[in-house]
């Protein structure tokens, strides 16, 4: 017994000593990819788009696509299909994945390496005529303008975001992990001087299995199957929250038409997308318009008391996916389920993409079909239809006068519309790298100055529309430091001292390093995501007033998520406030404002019309795990040989056991001595 326990102790001690080196076998074989952005499956009333992998992931031998000639290796001549294609940064944008799709039995997946700088020729995975089926132009309304007959809004659009792939496509940043992948390829997979590469080869496995199929009606039906005991949902409808605020108090508990209230709507959108999931910087397409409108709201804050019309600032969410937010708001207004209704609307001013370069100008777009009684000063060119904008959804219900402010006269000037390259670098927000984040926050770039002028124009236009006097217009001016800080917050880094002052203290951990806009999935109850919450906080601070409340407990409904339920007129927000000098304490206070949220879920899901042609029916599939890893694979022959040897050993041992047991009496008969019963 003593010897046994000693041995046991020694074993335990040895294992503990080596516990740092006790690598699992898995770690010795696989190298996991850390930060990947997959392409996911989305469904609408008729189609499914996006990528799908097999249930346990797709495995393929790595192949680095250095130039277009190498594609032949993957599609035809390579001896070890299926291949996992790595698209280097320059090829990713120039290269249309359609030919990869055609050879999809030999292609196991694609890994796209993100370029470190934007491709100069432009890249847009979106369609060339965005939202063409849910806009206002159709066979019954301006048929000559429908389907971008007059102007192709997004000429660089390739439409790959809306195609279906049956292999996984992932995107990775160009960092150390990617170097490891390249090295693995160079050492093992490279064909040297025409010879075929020998096993073992470097392979990669990408797993992004999507649960939903076919279309939204099918997946919503399968969300609640007839027999299942604990149904596991397969998809979620896309939805989030719209943020809106008025300049005069409006009683929210009485819905429908309000007598004597005339509203000017100032609209913009706050979402964007790209080919990959959760990558959506949306600098020109969303951030510029939203920052301009926020700055205009701040500039008008002191001047709105004397206006006779109310201005309603609305930030629509989900506009990229067939106008989810604006169609929902129009639907609510038409059903008398919103604070005001369509008859209260006097006019609409929408702020679209407004990034201005040194020689670009602002253009006003309006609808050539509707009869206009508008009192807008400038008469825009009336033979061109409206660009894709939330205003089109309002026009579907009523002929309301309105304009859309954009930075393009005909087609978009944005070369990276709805792509991952529509970022701070495209807007030329160039912060010199030697500045600290604090100094970068304070720096007012040229783009910020240009955007401030846009904001001033928007503010003055709204002022005039709402009944202000022309003579008083010049005192309305947007603040360029505010614009610069907001651009920095939305496009470069959220975690900065200006934004920290605005949020409640238990919130700062939730927001991530870099802002990403994307319409997020809702599970029937809409949860608000970061961009909407950020806009809400900023808007409350810019248009609200400090309430005479000193304790957070008495600041009613002060969490942003409560703004759905609360208040008849005012909403409250507890603000952290600035840090006191020479201490870590903050002067917190309670802000009272007129900011509200409204649900941005398509009416198709409210009415359960999943095949609707009028409303957005976009839904996103659910998935279980998204990961990738690389490892070395042996040849198929070696695997079969190992299996064969194993089976042979098994059969041999069975045979041997049978022979031994049948001759047991001969083999084991000797050596049996008579026992002496001594005990």
């Amino acid at each position: 017994m003593d010897l046994l326990s000693d041995k046991w102790i020694v074993n335990v001690v040895l294992c503990l000593l080596f516990v740092g080196n006790c690598n699992s076998v898995e770690k010795k074989i696989y190298i996991n990819l850390n930060e990947t952005f997959p392409c996911v499956r989305l469904l609408n009333a008729t189609h499914q788009i996006g990528c799908q992998s097999s249930l346990s992931g797709d495995v393929g031998v790595l192949h680095l696509l250095e130039s277009e000639e190498n594609l032949d290796w993957v599609l035809r001549t390579g001896p070890n299909p299926p291949y996992m294609v790595i698209l280097e940064s320059t090829l990713f944008t120039r290269y249309r994945p359609c030919s990869l799709k055609n050879g999809s039995s030999r292609v196991a997946g694609v890994l796209a390496v993100q370029p470190t700088s934007n491709p100069p020729e432009g890249f847009s995975p979106h369609t060339s005529c965005p939202n063409e089926n849910t806009g206002v132009y159709s066979e019954t309304y301006g048929p000559s303008y429908a389907h971008c007959n007059v102007t192709m809004w997004n000429p660089l659009g390739t439409g790959i975001s809306y195609e279906e792939f049956d292999f996984p496509i992932f995107s990775v940043k160009d960092d150390n992990d990617t170097e490891v992948i390249r090295r693995c390829y160079m050492e093992h997979n490279r064909a040297v001087n025409g010879s075929t590469p020998q096993y073992p080869l470097c392979a990669m496995q990408l797993m992004s299995h999507m649960a939903a199929v076919t279309d939204t009606a099918t997946c919503m039906r399968r969300n609640a199957p007839t027999f299942s005991l604990a149904p596991d949902g397969v998809c979620d409808p896309l939805g989030d929250a719209n943020i809106w605020a008025s300049t005069k108090p409006l009683n929210s508990s009485t819905k429908g038409h309000k007598d004597g209230v005339s509203v000017v709507i100032a609209a913009t959108k706050l979402d964007s997308r790209s080919f990959f999931f959760d990558v959506a910087p949306g600098a020109d397409s969303a951030a510029t318009g939203l920052v301009a409108l926020l700055a205009a709201a701040s500039a008008l804050h002191n001047a709105t008391a004397e206006l006779n019309r109310t201005i309603l600032y609305t930030f629509f969410n989900g506009e990229t996916f067939d106008y989810i937010g604006s169609s929902r708001m129009v639907y609510d207004m038409a059903k008398n389920d919103f604070t005001v209704d369509l008859d209260n609307i006097h006019s609409i001013l929408e702020v679209g993409q407004v990034a201005l370069g040194p020689d670009s100008r602002l253009w006003l777009h309006s609808d050539p079909v509707s009869k206009r009684n508008s009192s807008v000063n400038v008469e825009p060119n009336v033979t061109q239809p409206l660009p894709p904008s939330s205003f089109q959804r309002f026009l579907l219900e009523r002929p309301i006068p309105g304009v859309v402010i954009e930075n393009h006269q005909t087609s978009f000037t944005n070369k990276y519309y709805q792509s991952m390259f529509d970022n701070a670098e495209y807007l030329k927000l160039n912060y010199p790298p030697n500045l600290t984040p604090e100094e970068q926050l304070e720096l007012v770039t040229d783009s910020a100055k240009a955007l401030t002028e846009v904001a001033t124009t928007v503010a003055r236009g709204l002022y005039l529309q709402a009944g202000g006097e022309l003579a008083q217009m010049s005192r309305i001016q947007a603040d360029s430091e505010l614009v610069s800080k907001m651009l920095y917050t939305f496009l470069v880094r959220v975690n900065n001292s200006w934004f920290d002052q605005l949020v409640k203290s238990d919130w700062t951990g939730v927001l991530s390093e870099l802002m990403l806009y994307e319409i997020n999935t809702s599970e029937r109850k809409v949860k608000t995501t970061e961009p909407a919450l950020m806009v809400q906080c900023i808007l409350a601070n810019l248009t609200g007033s400090i309430a005479n409340i000193t304790e957070v407990y008495f600041c009613p409904f002060s969490s942003p998520n409560f703004l759905f339920l609360c208040c008849q007129i005012y909403s409250y927000l507890w603000v952290q406030g600035p840090v006191r000098p020479n201490s870590t304490e903050r002067d917190s206070f309670c802000v009272r404002s007129l900011v509200r949220q409204s649900k941005a879920l398509s009416p198709a899901f409210e009415l359960s019309e999943y095949t609707s042609k009028n409303y957005s029916t976009w839904a996103e599939s659910r998935w279980s795990a998204i990961k990738g890893r690389i490892f070395l694979v042996a040849s198929h022959d070696l695997e079969m040989l190992t299996l064969g040897v194993g089976v042979g050993v098994l059969l041999m041992s069975l045979l041997l056991t049978y022979i031994v047991s049948s001759k047991a009496d001969i083999l084991f008969s000797s050596g049996r001595e008579p026992t002496n019963a001594t005990y």
Partner: protein, 101 residues
């Protein structure tokens, strides 16, 4: 249960019970009947009850073949066309595969 130890009358009642039971949509009883009593019905030397046992075994075999044919046809059709039947297919399924139609 070892059929060797049973008297012939009990063998006959057992065979008859399995034969009649199979009519309650239980084709496996017929399968068991055929397999179990095959030697008794066709290979053993003749005895009085063997003729009736033989008829029962033959009829069980016919019923079994019919069931196999019907089930195979239905299963093939269902597996092939379930995806195309849309809502009907989903309401007939207990477990619906994820990720494939």
């Amino acid at each position: 249960m070892n059929l060797e130890r049973l008297p012939n009358e009990e063998k006959l009642t057992l065979c008859r019970k399995y034969y009649l039971g199979g009519f309650a949509f239980l084709p496996f009883l017929w399968l068991v009947n055929v397999v179990w009593f095959f030697r008794e019905a066709f290979i053993k030397p003749a005895y009085t009850e063997q003729l009736q046992i033989k008829t029962y075994v033959q009829r069980s075999a016919v019923g079994l073949l019919l069931w196999v044919a019907v089930l195979t046809t239905w299963i093939t059709i269902f597996q092939h066309f379930r995806a195309q039947w849309g809502e009907v297919g989903d309401s007939l399924s207990f477990t619906i595969p994820r990720g494939t139609p």
